[in-house]
Amino acid sequence: MIQVADEHSAADDRINEHIYVPEPAVTLAVEPMAPLDTCFEFQLESGRSLGHMPGQFAQVTIQGIGEAPISIASSPDEQERFRMLVRRMGNVTGAMHALEPGDRVFMRGPFGHGFPVESDMLGKDILYVGGGCGMAPLRSAIAYTLDPRHREKYGRITILYGCKEPRERLFRGDLADLREREDIAFRETVDVGDEDWHGNTGVITTLIPGVDLDPGRTVAVVCGPPAMYRFVIAELEKKGLDDRQTFLSLERHMKCGVGKCGRCQINDLYCCQDGPVFRLADIRNHPEAI
């Protein structure tokens, strides 16, 4: 049962001005995807669109439990509905895994700088490199760039995706669609296969040497676990990509999302505001970044 938001008043304007007050949203769909990962579809109760760009995140509140930063996994083109892929890791994400359609959550955001889909990526070939649940924010950009309304703004699109094992593969319906598409190249791998797995095995970096790319016109977009970046960057360099063409979405615990709490500092940068997506050239001299 969804409760209707309070009537509007002058006090509400004061609340809206408050950077920490979350607004109610309703859970529309719950789709378990892997042992620890579930995808949720939400909509703000006000009916307005979240207004995010690919790569941005929002702060999700489970009332009485707390708040956690979660990346948005759907394209802005889906308008007022948006999706989040949540790995069960802590108090808030654990409570999210108990959500059912119709349940109320609260949202703040969107926050931060996302992937440069409307700037540096325009007119370029795009190489997506996703590891594990790093596929969640990438999915937003992939969906955006593959959308018929935007597809012609980009050149060749290559998508690489790696997971630890087959049962951790996320967005399997999407993966099947990507495999069918003829206007893109899609490669997948798992670190360790099983008897039903007939695809590539090996870590994500083993896919990069086989990619046919023109370094002069390619932008790489990378998201994965913290340990993945160094190795992926080394492989991209071998392909001739320079630091200005590579964009990374970094993880930190962004408690406030608005540059106040200090938790997400990467040297002098704030992951929540300067990132979470950074151009490699801008963090190359930041020893804490990767």
Binding site: E17, I19, V21, I65, D268
Partner: protein
């Protein structure tokens, strides 16, 4: 704006008058240390203190501070705060408050901080006795020009009360009968400021604070980080007593009815092991050395680069609070200045 000359007895009468009108927080002795606390009578006020255990930031960023409440399925800000007088802030602590103002009020305004900050009428008092670890005179914070409502300066055996804002003038109404400060008094006050800029160099930073960012830019791999961090207990005392440390954690606290409660921020500290840990257990500053070094870069470079003012105001509290005796910014920065020159 105006300046009155008050004898010590007249100052006491004024403070007791403020206490009668409303809440006053002032510096008081607790055994052999000093603290900011609720002031019951002017007799307890100690304007001759050297430094307080905790800086006055505890009134703007309380150690535990509920900033939202939730009930009936919605969240509301807890931004109400009653006006009061904060009496006896030293200039270096005022400089720190001005820095917190820049951080919390610029850009995304933290309305909760703003409410707590606006509630306070601040009376700054020029230092009479320096603490043994103070180096505010090296950091340009032995005196302060703005951010406060009233400045109290002891000159010889009397005080000058200088109001700078409408709110300060309102508080000064009861002393309007006192004599105006003469030119001679104002000159004597300038000599106090001049003396304090020297007095508050109990420890001596050998380079101007403006050079710290460029010195630190060359010091990432200096062995001092390892040498000091090896002794660090990761207790966070240096963070807790720092007037410019403001990082926080956020918890949701539920009431007994299980349907209402508060969202509360708590002081966090970059020297504590979990500070940069993320879901799944990865810790971006797992090693003590990375946490120790981060704190000095934060104070000496990152804040300076972003806000144009040093993140360290030179109060010296961290030096006295560190059980391992490794938290001396003057020692660290002087070493780096020497090896990088």
């Amino acid at each position: 704006m105006g300046v009155k000359r008050l004898e010590p007895e007249a100052l006491k009468t004024w403070v007791d008058g403020l206490i009668e009108l409303g809440r006053v927080v002032g510096v008081q002795a607790r055994e052999d240390r000093f603290v900011f606390d609720e002031l019951g009578e002017a007799e307890d006020l100690r304007l001759d203190y050297d430094t307080t255990v905790l800086p006055p930031k505890k009134y703007f960023l309380p150690p535990e501070d509920a900033f939202l409440e939730f009930k009936d399925g919605s969240y509301r800000p807890l931004d109400r705060a009653e006006p009061y007088v904060l009496l006896g802030v030293h200039p270096y602590d005022m400089a720190a408050i001005n820095q917190l103002d820049a951080i919390f009020l610029q850009g995304n305004t933290d309305t909760h901080y703003r409410a707590l900050r606006e509630a306070a009428a601040i009376v700054v008092t020029d230092v009479q006795n320096a603490s043994e670890n103070c180096f505010a005179g090296c950091m340009g914070t032995a005196t302060v020009e703005d951010g406060f409502d009233i400045l109290l300066t002891r000159v010889d055996d009397h005080y000058l009360l200088d109001w700078r804002t409408d709110r300060g003038e309102e508080l000064a109404v009861p002393v309007m009968e006192a004599p105006d400060a003469e030119r001679e008094d104002l000159l004597a006050r300038e000599r106090v400021w001049e003396k304090n800029r020297e007095l508050l160099q109990q420890l001596k930073l050998e380079v101007p604070p403006e050079t710290l960012p460029s010195i630190l830019a060359k010091s990432w791999d200096d062995p001092i980080w390892e040498d000091k961090a090896e002794l660090c207990f990761s207790c966070g005392s240096c963070n807790l007593v720092c007037p410019t440390c403001y990082c926080f954690d956020v918890h949701e606290d539920v009431n007994w009815d299980l349907s209402s409660g508060t969202r509360t921020r708590y002081w966090h500290a970059c020297m504590l092991e979990p500070f940069a840990r993320v879901a799944g257990g990865h810790n971006f500053r797992e090693q003590k050395v990375s946490r120790y070094r981060h704190r000095y870069y934060r104070k000496g470079k990152y804040i300076a680069d972003k806000y144009g003012m040093s993140g360290c105001v030179g109060c010296g509290r961290c030096i006295g609070s560190c059980p391992a005796k490794i938290a001396n910014p003057v020692e660290v920065y002087n070493h780096l200045a020497e090896v990088s020159s």
